[in-house]
């Protein structure tokens, strides 16, 4: 307690000894009570004085936290003296974000206003840590920890047996999604589901002599990219998945079975793909029945 009082007093003395032209307390004043924040700020890009755009050249701590003069005079305390804390739970997300958007409005954040995260009161600091040299959400290895704090269903799905290498840190949420808003659906980094998938799976793009229309239109009709128990992240086991669209003529309506009949051929091993090899489409110019059914 004595130490805290002494620190507060030191801060007040430092403030009162500042030149009269100062508009807000210098960082060294803030340091007296917020040493850790001061240190990480200085080690951070925000504290880089050589960059004219940074808070280091725009008013230091006051750039984001407002003028702390009254806060210091009052001896500190949460919200005392009108100090702004973007991490506060009682400050509106829009007010918090307006601080960050003062400088970070362009580029990938052009579509922030009206995006799903913006309209759901997500604050920049809900995901980003500012007073650190290592922001968890900007590191592929730890990014999911942040996203899963809200997206609980995805936390489970990425650990399903059929999945992307997300737990290994080789694919991150931000490889497919731009959480700051996009023009297309589901905050995807490209303009559609397929355009996003093609970044890594360009062989599926075609166009083919014989396309499989659902695959051309939306990969997510058949696949759940976050993970499933079915091979190739399929939403359902074959033949059931195929039977959700295909007419039951010939063998297509057969009951799934493990027995040594032709029905088993659509159920075991690769299921329907035991024969229908080129399921995303074929570029074979023969273009007869075997191509219509993606068999070669």
């Amino acid at each position: 307690m004595v130490m805290r009082l002494a620190t507060a007093l030191a801060a007040v003395l430092a403030l009162t000894s500042m030149p009269a032209i100062a508009q807000a307390p210098a960082p060294e004043v803030c340091k007296a009570c917020h040493a850790s924040s001061y240190e990480t700020y200085n080690a951070h890009k925000h504290g880089t004085k050589a960059d004219a755009r940074t808070p280091a050249n725009r008013g230091e701590c006051a750039t984001c936290h407002g003028d702390g003069t009254e806060h210091v005079k009052a001896g500190g305390g949460r919200g005392v003296g009108g100090i702004v804390n973007p991490g506060s739970k009682t400050l509106a997300a829009e007010a918090k974000n307006s601080i960050c958007l003062t400088c970070h409005q362009g580029g990938k954040r052009i579509h922030w206003a009206g995006s799903k995260h913006a309209t759901r009161d997500t604050a920049c600091v809900s995901c980003h840590q500012v007073h650190t040299t290592r922001d968890r959400v900007r590191d592929k290895a730890t990014q999911t920890e942040v996203c899963f704090s809200c997206h609980k269903d995805k936390r489970v799905e990425i650990n399903r047996p059929s999945r992307h290498p997300i737990p290994e840190g080789k694919v991150a949420c931000s490889d497919c999604h731009n959480p700051h808003g996009t023009a297309g659906p589901a905050l995807l980094v490209r303009d559609s589901v397929n355009d996003t998938c093609y970044q890594c799976h360009m062989e599926k793009r075609g166009p083919f002599v014989r396309p499989h229309n659902p695959a051309t239109e939306d990969c997510a009709i058949c696949h759940n990219p976050h993970g499933t128990t079915n091979a190739f992240l399929l939403k359902a086991r074959l033949p059931f998945l195929c039977q959700q669209c295909h007419e039951p003529t010939s063998h297509r309506g057969q009951i799934a079975s493990r027995t040594a009949t032709s029905t088993g051929a659509g159920t075991l091993a690769r299921g329907c793909e035991n024969c229908h090899t080129n399921i995303h489409g074929t570029n074979n110019p023969a273009n007869i029945s075997n191509e219509r059914t993606f068999r070669r």
Partner: protein, 698 residues
């Protein structure tokens, strides 16, 4: 104990290089206390041991075989304060197969560039034994009789190199260039087959042969963007180009069954490319009114040479490639406003047009009247228009009520000869309401409800080449009439400062209609409870539990007639399937500092997943043999301890226990005609022990 030489080279080389490059600086730093206002670097070197060969644990990191592996990670960060010049050299998992390296050099607010390298292995999680030869090449030789084979490792690996350049230009303009090149090589599980032919070997139902797809391709992406950031106006426009080059265009076969002799060559994915120009922008008319937009035009082409050796006579005029061309146009605009302090409004419109302009040619003249093809290629075009209106109103005590209407209209083209029902248009309208509380020291959360209704133009009947209607019984999943109701609740509760609790509940229900067969109902539920407790500055604990449950009910018919009449007899019944996936998962974590120089961590995650395939005869008298459930259980325990030897050095120990078990019957009874077996160990237990020395410096 074995050592994996393929992981060894970078281990020593990188460590030596780093110590040589940064050794002197590190030595200086060791003499003084670190300055917390300066960026800090870290290097760690050690070794880890995997106790057992496995299929799942090492699927994406290469830790597949029992043995010793190198553990090297580093993150060198330097800042020259006078100029604001940063240098960062990151190495992650350098001794393992999923390694990545990144060198980043920039003058903050002025220029920057980076070079990065990343590998992503993917091992097939099965044990394959095969006598098929030529795996990984476009020429396979298949034994004509069932033959005992030898172990085959099926894997692919992506090797990526990325380059980037940034430059801040005068007048609030900036330039960004990104280039990525990826080489992908290996082979993946593939097959060819037909229902006809003889039965060879074990329980083979027709004629099926193991035919791994050879993977040898290059993917390139180039993006150059110029941006402007003003107080009110922001712009971002540029070029995005992609290129996919498959070094194989067909898979050829020698040998194999006579019944499959016509299934060669199998075409492999063709090379293709795309070029997009785009412009995005945003303008803030007032502090509370803003508009943003995006326009983009792309042209994707595919002119890769057709596979040769096709055993069907091509019609005159067919060239050596498809001349494929897909033009895409996207236009989007969104306006947000807050006309009153408590009222916020949003309106947006998106139009996405995918126009496949590939010329339609008759590739063969083999079709008869009853053929389900006419010899033409079938370009697929579609348009999507999405509109959205939303309003939100701030209520007392930090609550906010919002509501909105979304509408999506899709238009598809269709081919004159069809075997699957199509629809020219689908329309889906969604109504949303949400009550949210975001500002509170103790309780925040949201309750939302969405009702969606999808319908569309009449289903197009399937038709044969002569125009005769085919079977028209199924409404395809993505085109069917659908009513969807979705409720979601999320509550964050912090009853006391150290304790926080989070509840998440999501329930969605779908009802499909339109035709006699196809999907009927769907349901998806997720319930999750999280808790975290901070005992002190030194100890924190977390725990969570989640249940997810999805189900879809669908119906079909055995041997429906070609004109779409389901016999509905005991021999050819109508039947239903109820497919359900139920997963129970929980996790727990503990972080602590028992004393000054020791940090420990423990994380446990467990999942128990059950897949059900309940099939039921709707037609009386029919019998159906049930399919067994598939149960999958995953356990992962991570323990770590970090012991500081000095202020900037220490030792870190890691232990991982990974257990995977399944009773999946997908491959258990399957033998390819060539004798290939594909199996998975039903229980896989792996222990990993790692020890490393870390060193921090400035």
């Amino acid at each position: 104990m074995t050592f994996n030489p393929r992981h060894a080279v970078p281990l020593t080389a990188v460590a030596a290089a780093l110590l040589a490059a940064f050794g002197s600086a590190a030595g200086q730093a060791a003499d003084t206390s670190p300055d917390p206002t300066k960026p800090e670097s870290e290097l760690s070197v050690g070794a880890g041991y995997v106790t057992k060969d496995n299929g799942r644990f090492g699927q994406y990191n290469g830790l597949r075989d029992e043995g010793l592996y190198g553990l090297i990670d580093f993150n060198v960060v330097r800042r020259e304060d006078a100029t604001g010049t940063w240098l960062r050299f990151l190495g992650r998992n350098v001794g393992l197969e999923h390694r990545e390296l990144r060198f980043d050099h920039n003058r903050q607010g002025n220029w920057g560039y980076f070079l990065e390298f990343s590998q992503i292995p993917r091992y097939e999680p099965y044990t394959v034994t095969s006598a098929v030869s030529g795996i990984g090449t476009p020429n396979l030789t298949i034994p004509s009789t069932s033959t005992a084979g030898s172990p085959v490792e099926l894997k692919t690996r992506r090797d990526r190199i990325g380059l980037g350049f940034d430059k801040q230009l005068p007048g609030n303009w900036d330039l960004q260039v990104r280039l990525r090149n990826e080489e992908k090589e290996g082979a993946r599980l593939w097959a060819r087959g037909t229902a006809g032919g003889g039965v060879v070997g074990g329980p083979v139902f027709g004629s099926f042969e193991f035919a791994p797809e050879p993977i040898d391709s290059t993917t390139r992406q180039l993006e150059a963007t110029i941006g402007y950031t003003g107080d009110k106006l922001q712009l971002s426009g540029g070029y995005y180009g992609t290129m996919y080059d498959n070094h194989h265009n067909g898979l050829n076969f020698t040998g194999g069954l006579a019944a499959l002799s016509s299934f060669t060559p199998i075409a492999l994915p063709p090379g293709n490319q795309s070029h997009q120009v785009h412009l995005s922008g945003g303008y803030s008319f007032t502090p509370t009114t803003r508009a943003s937009f995006k326009v983009a035009y792309a042209r994707a082409t595919q002119d890769d040479a057709f596979v040769t050796g096709v055993n069907v006579p091509l019609a005159p005029g067919v060239g050596n490639n498809l001349q494929g061309r897909l033009d895409s146009t996207l236009a989007q605009i969104r306006v947000t406003a807050r006309p009153l302090p408590k009222l916020s409004l949003l309106a947006s419109l998106l139009h996405d047009d995918r126009d496949d302009k590939t010329p339609i040619l008759r590739y063969n003249t083999l079709a008869t009247g009853t053929s389900t093809f006419n010899g033409d290629n079938e370009p697929h075009s579609f348009k999507t228009t999405t509109g959205k209106l939303e309003a939100g109103y701030a209520l007392p005590v930090g609550f906010r009520l919002s509501g909105g209407i979304d509408q999506e209209r899709r238009k598809h083209n269709f081919s004159p000869v069809r075997v699957v029902s199509s629809r020219e248009k689908t329309d889906e309208t969604s109504y949303r309401a949400e009550l949210r509380r975001s500002m509170s020291e103790t309780v925040t959360g949201a309750l939302s409800y969405v009702h969606s209704d999808r319908d569309g133009s009449p289903f197009l009947t399937t038709t044969l080449n002569n125009g005769t209607p085919g079977s028209n019984l199924v409404h395809p999943l993505h085109l069917a009439d659908r009513e969807r109701d979705k409720v979601r609740l999320m509550v964050n509760w912090q009853p006391t400062s150290p304790l926080s609790i989070q509840l998440f509940a999501d329930h969605a229900q779908d009802k499909y209609s339109g035709r006699a067969l196809g999907p009927r109902e769907g349901e998806a539920q997720t319930y999750s409870l999280d808790a975290s407790y901070t005992f002190s500055d030194r100890w924190q604990a977390t725990a969570w539990i989640t249940r997810s449950d999805t189900r879809i009910d669908q119906s079909s018919c055995v041997n429906a007639g070609t004109t779409g009449v389901c016999p509905a007899t005991a021999a050819s019944p109508v039947w239903d399937a109820s497919l359900r996936n139920v997963g129970d998962s929980f996790g727990a974590g503990l972080r602590g500092k028992p004393y000054g120089v020791l940090e420990i961590g423990a994380d446990l995650q467990y999942s128990d997943i059950r897949d059900e395939y309940r099939q039921r005869a709707v037609t009386p008298g029919a019998t159906i043999t049930p399919l067994p459930d598939v149960n999958t259980r995953l356990t992962r325990l991570n323990l770590s301890a970090k012991h500081a030897l000095q202020k900037n050095t220490g030792i870190r120990l890691d232990y991982i226990y990974d257990r995977y078990s399944t009773d999946d019957w997908t491959w258990t009874t399957w033998t390819y005609a060539d004798g290939t077996r594909v199996l998975e160990a039903p229980v896989q237990k792996v222990h990993f022990i790692g020890a490393r020395y870390y060193y921090r410096f400035q």
